[in-house]
């Protein structure tokens, strides 16, 4: 039946066909309850360091209320180029190779839209961040998910990717450290993947928003490997490590032709990123290193705690090498991810996101965020252990 009065009929078919986010479903469940301890939050529990907030207030007081250039404030692009240079020994020209965006979210959307033509295949690893598949779909690309496994600490290797490469493969989308698994790659893994990208002429989009939250491993970007700079779009932002999610600050670094292409879309869709957030980010990149180090240390300690607690209660969990998520296996209880997390919520009022929210290969797992105060984590672990014993 074609009911011409239904507003739903105006919605484009490919948008109507998009599945609802598993995170949103879970959110609706959790928000009806009181007294929940939530380990399902994908953002820092820290408030943005005061000196960064103060820089935004200062800018506001001094009338920073205008647009900026499409690429973003040159001062900030310089600070970003300097930051990327000291983090990865990678140099990008602030004038033509850095684009400031509204979070990594926008940068990712721009990167995909700038390079994907209908039918192009974008390979990404799973479990992964919730927006990858939809963003690829909205650009009429075809997402090709490569599952990663707990036995490998959810690392990705050349051998995992090779079998899915076809003549339509165009982009390889990487996210290490990974949301939701906390996986990090070794230099060998990255070298193998880089060689594969060169052999098959793939463009690599690397989402390194958690790179500052790498705990033990060498902090290496694939863009810094020989031959990769020219075929990589490097994405990063201030949301996680600087605790600035609400400022919505991200950026892309890439050769001029790619930045120019992304900028074309950005200038018509977004115009520019908010100036106050850009001003705050200048302060963050210039004077925020100590804050980042302090928060990283807190996450590192909680990581040890949650890793030990989960394994002690009989939920096998690898030690996450980065980000702020533990990803224990709950399949041994005989329950699937969704049932486990619903029952845990019902019985003990602890919220953890079912692994399936991050792709079908997340079945059997749970994402436990440790971006939550230590005391809360302790209480959550006690309740969760009691829940597991009750099964």
């Amino acid at each position: 039946m074609n009911d011409s009065k239904s507003p739903r009929n105006f919605v484009a078919g490919h948008v109507r066909g998009m599945p609802r986010s598993g995170i949103r479903d879970f959110f609706d469940m959790v928000s009806t309850r009181e007294g929940v301890i939530s380990l399902s939050i994908g953002e820092p529990d820290f408030v943005t360091p005061w000196h960064i907030r103060e820089a935004a207030i200062y800018a506001l007081e001094h009338g920073a209320t205008s647009y900026t250039s499409n690429l973003g404030l040159l001062r900030l692009r310089k600070a970003i180029a300097a930051y990327v240079a000291r983090s990865h020994a990678l140099t990008y020209a602030p004038e033509s190779e850095v684009l400031i965006t509204v979070g990594v979210s926008e940068a990712l959307d721009l990167a995909i839209r700038a390079v994907v033509e209908p039918g192009d295949e974008v390979i990404y690893h799973e479990p992964c961040y919730v927006s990858y598949s939809p963003v690829i779909g909205l650009a009429f690309g075809k997402g090709v998910a490569v599952p990663t496994r707990q036995a490998d600490d959810f690392r990705l290797t050349r051998a995992d990717i090779e079998p899915v490469i076809t003549a339509k493969s165009k982009v390889l989308l990487l996210n290490f450290p990974t949301n939701p698994t906390g996986a990090v790659l070794t230099r060998e893994d990255l070298t193998g993947i880089a060689a594969l990208a060169c052999e098959h002429d793939l463009l690599v989009i690397t989402d390194e928003v958690y790179t500052e939250l790498t705990y033990d491993a060498e902090r290496l970007s694939i863009a810094a490997l020989p031959g990769m700079r020219e075929r990589t779009i490097y994405l990063n932002g201030l949301s996680k490590a600087w605790a600035m999610t609400g400022f919505r600050m991200g950026y892309a670094c890439a050769p001029p032709a790619l930045i120019e292409a992304m900028m074309k879309i950005h200038q018509y869709s977004m115009l520019c990123a908010p100036i106050l957030s850009q001003e705050a980010s200048v302060a963050a990149l210039k004077n925020g290193d100590a804050d980042v180090a302090e928060m990283r240390e807190a996450y590192r300690q909680r990581r040890h705690y949650i890793h030990a607690a989960l394994n002690d209660m009989g939920l096998p969990c690898h030690l996450p090498g980065g980000a702020f998520y533990a990803f224990p296996y709950i399949g041994g209880t005989g329950m699937n991810s969704r049932d486990f997390s619903m029952a845990l919520l019902e019985q003990e009022n602890v919220a953890c996101v079912p692994g399936t929210a991050f792709g079908s290969s997340g079945e059997g797992y749970l994402r436990c965020s440790y971006a939550t105060g230590l005391e809360e984590i302790k209480r959550a672990m006690e309740r969760m252990a009691r829940f597991v014993r009750s099964l």
Binding site: S31, S38, G42, V130
Partner: protein
């Protein structure tokens, strides 16, 4: 600062077992390190941070700037040490600038603090002058904010 000290400064009640897990070292190492810090006087004690404004007790706090005459041989140390021994002195620092000692004192009432300044502090030989400032309200003490602003709540679930 050492991470163990940092954790203890945040929460001195944390158990050695939890400290060991957090730092990924053994419980015995934690205990040995704490004992060593105590023996060396690096950890001088454990106490609660109390917001006394919230208690129904009479307590007045003041900061006193003191000018003194330094002595041959001892400089400011002898007089400073002498002042620091009074129970009503909470903290005492030697300062650069227009005065020499900054003394933090507390007492049951304004009269008690005033009496301490007039009768005990000002009369010490070598004390040239005192300027007393009474504390009206505590906003932050020893790195701890006394009033947590109504915190913005994060979404309970986010990607």
């Amino acid at each position: 600062m050492d991470q163990l000290l940092k954790l203890l400064k945040e929460n001195a009640l944390e158990t050695p077992e939890n400290l060991a897990t957090l730092l990924s070292i053994s419980v015995d190492d934690v205990k040995a390190q704490i004992a060593d810090y105590e023996a060396r006087g690096i950890i001088c004690g454990y106490r609660a941070v109390v917001n006394e404004d919230e208690l129904d007790i009479e307590k007045v706090r003041a900061v006193i700037e003191v000018r003194i005459t330094p002595e041959r041989g001892g400089g400011y140390d002898r007089i400073a040490t002498r002042i620091s021994r009074f129970a009503s002195v909470d903290s005492l620092f030697l300062m650069s600038g227009t005065y020499d000692l900054l003394v933090f004192v507390s007492g049951r009432s304004l009269q008690v603090v005033a009496a301490f300044v007039n009768e005990q502090l000002a009369t010490i030989e070598g004390v040239l002058s005192t300027t007393t400032h009474f504390t009206l309200k505590t906003y932050k003490d020893q790195g701890v904010l006394m009033k947590i602003e109504d915190d913005h709540e994060r979404l309970q679930v986010s990607p």
